[in-house]
Amino acid sequence: MMQIPAVEDRRSFDGTCWDGVSEDTLVQALAAPALVCVEAGLLIEGGSGCDDHGSPNRLGLTLSIRSIFRLAIAKAFVMAIDRRLPLCRETRDRVHTALHEVLLNAVMHGHLKIDAALRDSLGGFGASHDIIAAQLDGDDFSQSRVSIDAQWTEERLVIAVHDNGIGYVPGTGRTAKRRGSGRGLLILEAFCDSVTHQNGGRSIILGFDL
């Protein structure tokens, strides 16, 4: 299983580096033959932070929660998979939707613990957005990051998402279903063929039959 990186060792890192600027530059950084990509400024211990499975049928990305909040990361990542493993439209939508929900939850609940009740009004959506933006502008979350590791065969695609936050399990506590939030688990179960939570909610494994 992929490990969350901690301290950079550029000498042993043989992946690509993403500048963190835009979805377009992310698509470029994830382009084949890249197997592993890390956002600039994130520190890596012992290389990329991803296990070497000896297979080209994989793609890993480690990035900040700040970038997840700012950019359409799931769309770019699924596009990069699709260029290696052509997916039908329906499967592409399923993977995109599930990964998007997992990444958003990792930021809002796994790291920042944003109260879901805030999103019971349109004004509350704005308030929660402002709270997140303010927290991410500070130093407390400068090393908060998420790693995405995709591996596939002709029959199955598995995407593991790991974060170094405090963990959460969708559908529990303050993330239980409300008007403006709380449908994440329902969506994951509908769009994925398997969903596994590990490590106190810091890791989630999404499986898709192809």
Partner: protein, 99 residues
């Protein structure tokens, strides 16, 4: 997400992706829909490619806001991923959805 209002302000078309990031734009949209005099306000989703759980939540909140003035919010022609999200979350039981 791209937005286009029709002349009377009671119908708006969405295109692109509707996600948590669009909360500010959607708040403006909801304000304009609430100002419309029509009994029914319509959001045309025929060109919307993607919606996330936050987008669904915002639609529900807008429905409730419109309902406070005894009017109805109709969602028109959801396609692809958007239609599937509506099915999963049983939006057809919560909204009037025009095929």
């Amino acid at each position: 997400m791209k937005i286009e209002f029709q002349a009377n302000g009671a119908r708006v078309s969405f295109s692109g992706d509707f996600t948590f990031a669009d909360h500010a734009a959607f708040r403006d949209i909801a304000g304009r829909l609430l100002e419309a005099k029509d009994e029914t306000v319509v959001i045309d989703l025929s060109q919307l490619q993607f919606i996330d759980s936050a987008g669904l939540g915002m639609l529900l909140i807008a429905r409730d806001e419109v309902g406070k003035t005894n009017r109805k919010l109709v969602l028109a022609q959801p396609q692809g991923q958007v239609k599937r999200m509506f099915t999963i979350t049983k939006f057809d039981q919560l909204f009037t959805i025009e095929a």
